[in-house]
């Protein structure tokens, strides 16, 4: 099976735009509890999708999502508390600070190969949590409390979360369908080959790392507004990294819609159902993660696509092989081969 370059189509973008507008409008209609739930899900989606861009498309398996959630959250919170800026400015600052951190760390991080990158990012997440705990200006271990009347809540916060999640989805679509995405996947699949074909490896990885960090930082700011009280054990907890990995891996790493499914499955199936059973929830999350990488390493979404296609059978009249790369978002094209064909 030779993968062909996926042409940019108009309908995924249109669907994204439509659902964004609909969700945005829902912000004025839904009741308070649903909005709060929506904000949580959308933030998880943004963080999972940001991880997906980095790990699924770029092959950089990060365990450092928590560091950028914390950076964004604390940047927005500290600006609000210490300078009295209005919240839109504080939100705008969050991705900038997160990107600056990513840029600063990238010099070291992007030198690391494979598993070393994962461990390096994990070290950053833990180090940042320890740093914040010792940083009195940021409230130390007890954290900071945001001025309640200065932060958006309810419908406004929901709409903000919709925009953040939509940005994450748009970025994933771009990574999936653009020439940039193909080059990124080429680096993931075979770095020497990609470099040999003329791809600037470091620059492409940076171009994946920076927006991914920015989105995670933005989500961190929204989470800070939702929590109101933020502490090193809340926004800087490694469980953000865990959830990003878990949700994406369950849904389907390197797919556009997989993380969407993963967020729904993990949040509804586990986190919410087992809120009173924290230990049991942790057990199931651990087992689920192991079971998925062991038995369905591609995740649930590609599995569903394949099953659906088998049930529906080949489309009559087209003569196209069933396994051909079509509209379905099954797997990411093998970047190196695609790129090699492009170049040839």
């Amino acid at each position: 099976m030779t993968p062909t370059p996926t042409p940019r189509r108009w309908w995924p973008a249109a669907a994204l735009l439509l659902s964004t507008v609909v969700c945005f409008a829902l912000g004025g209609v839904l009741d308070h509890g649903t909005l709060d739930l929506g904000v949580t899900l959308l933030c998880y989606l943004a963080i999972a999708q940001a991880w997906n861009i980095l790990a699924g498309f770029g092959g950089l398996v990060s365990l450092g999502s928590a560091a950028f959630v914390a950076t964004g959250g604390y940047a927005a919170a500290l600006l609000l508390v210490h300078t009295g800026l209005s919240w839109p400015l504080a939100v705008a600052a969050a991705p900038v600070v997160a990107m600056l951190l990513a840029l600063l760390l990238s010099a070291a991080l992007l030198r690391l190969r494979g598993d070393y990158f994962s461990v390096g990012t994990l070290a950053i997440a833990i180090a940042l949590q320890a740093l914040i705990r010792n940083w009195d200006w940021a409230g130390g271990a007890s954290g900071v409390t945001l001025p309640v009347d200065a932060v958006p809540s309810g419908g406004n916060l929901f709409q903000l979360a919709v925009i953040v999640a939509a940005l994450a989805m748009a970025l994933t679509l771009h990574a999936r369908h653009s020439a940039f995405g193909i080059r990124l996947a080429a680096i993931r699949d075979n770095e020497p080959a990609a470099a040999g074909l003329g791809v600037a490896v470091r620059r492409h990885q940076l171009a994946a790392l920076l927006p991914s960090s920015a989105i995670t930082g933005l989500a961190g700011a929204v989470i800070a507004f939702q929590f109101v009280v933020i502490s090193p054990d809340g926004v800087a907890s490694v469980s953000w990294s865990l959830n990003a990995v878990l949700m994406t891996v369950v849904g389907g790493t390197g797919t556009v819609l997989g993380p969407l499914l993963g967020v729904a499955v993990v949040y509804y199936g586990l986190t919410r159902e087992l809120q009173s059973e924290q230990t049991l929830s942790l057990v199931i999350e651990g087992v689920l993660l192991i079971a998925i990488v062991r038995f369905a390493p591609q995740g649930v979404w590609p599995l569903l696509c394949r099953t659906a296609r088998r049930l529906l059978g080949p489309r009559p009249g087209t003569g196209r092989p069933v396994t051909g790369r079509g509209d379905e978002d099954e797997t990411v094209p093998s970047g190196t081969e695609t790129l090699a064909m492009d170049v040839a």
């Binding site: 790990a55 092959g59 398996v61 365990l63 010099a107 070291a108 991080l109 030198r111 690391l112 190969r113 494979g114 598993d115 070393y116 994962s118 461990v119 390096g120 994990l122 070290a123 950053i124 833990i126 180090a127 320890a130 740093l131 705990r133 010792n134 490694v238 865990l242 990995v245 891996v249 230990t279 049991l280 942790l282 057990v283 999350e285 651990g286 087992v287 689920l288 993660l289 192991i290 990488v293 062991r294 390493p297």
Partner: protein, 287 residues
């Protein structure tokens, strides 16, 4: 800078080396970053606590049993879960050990609760005076035991048939398999050995300080820091790296205060990774 601080750092470094040795062994031979290593350490401490707290044993008497217990748990994990994953996609084993780490934390919580535990021993809080330098007895014992275990590991790797098989599997698993070495078994034995070393570190950590189900993560990162400093494949390098890290931590705590002990380790770890990803003492096990 007083000598006490230096001595405390050197001795604490022994414990770090013991934790780092297992991580380094698994990564060097299997190419597996084991994110559940911290839980192997804490698991050893909890296993020992069954004998020490509930049956009144001395922690040092419980130590061999804890080592054997963790090795028995680790062997099938590697043989039937992680080794098959090593042949699959690149990040699958890492993600699986991340899942194992969570699972183990949850199981510790369910079995032992979340309150801190410690292993009581007569030498837990007493001090020794050596040439006018005050040191904690438990760290002296830990350091001595670490040196013994490091020497033992080194001898097994370099002087036994099993060690030769391990170095062969590490250097080139395919050729080793062709030559009749059961690579799957070697991998599982290596992982079990690393778990036993981790358990020994866990028991000693448990005597020196208290532990909770989530204590594994900082220990894991300390172990990674040791491995990053040492590079892969040199037992002596691991010991030196552990001591260097212990001294660094002890000195920075005396300069900046206790809150910074972990921050310094993580920053050192990150800097070493960034500047010299291959470590300071790199050598192949085969070499």
């Amino acid at each position: 800078m007083s000598l006490d601080v230096l001595a405390a750092g050197i001795l604490a470094g022994g414990l770090y080396a013991l934790i780092g040795l297992g991580i380094s062994l698994v990564f060097g031979v299997l190419g597996l970053m084991n994110l559940a290593h911290g839980e192997l350490v804490i698991g050893g401490a909890y296993l020992a606590s069954l004998l020490v707290v509930d049956a009144g044993w001395d922690p040092l008497a419980a130590l061999p049993l804890a080592m054997a217990g963790m090795a028995l748990i680790a062997y099938p994990l590697q043989r039937y879960l992680l080794t098959p994953l090593l042949r699959g996609s690149k990040s699958a084993p890492l993600v699986a050990t991340f899942g194992l780490s969570l699972l183990a934390q949850a199981l510790f919580q369910a079995a032992f609760g979340t309150h801190p535990k410690a292993l009581p021993a007569s030498y837990a809080d007493t001090g020794l005076s050596v040439l006018g330098v005050r040191v904690q007895t438990v760290y002296v014992i830990a350091f001595g035991l670490t040196v013994v275990l490091c020497a033992g590991t080194h001898l097994i790797l370099t002087r036994t048939r099993a060690g030769s098989a391990l170095r062969a599997a590490s250097a080139d698993p395919d050729t080793a398999a062709v030559l009749g070495i059961d690579v799957d078994r070697v991998y599982a034995m290596t992982f079990a050995g690393a778990a036993a070393l981790a358990a020994a570190g866990g028991v000693l950590t448990g005597v020196a300080q208290s532990f909770t189900p989530s204590s594994g993560l900082p220990l894991l990162l300390t172990g990674f820091a040791v491995m990053a400093l040492a590079g892969i494949g040199s037992v002596g390098g691991v010991l030196a790296a552990g001591v260097a890290l212990g001294v660094l931590q002890s000195v920075s705590v005396s300069l900046f205060g206790g809150g910074w002990r972990d921050v310094v380790v993580y920053l050192a770890f990150f800097l070493v990774l960034a500047v010299r990803p291959q470590g300071l003492f790199r050598k192949a096990y085969a070499g």
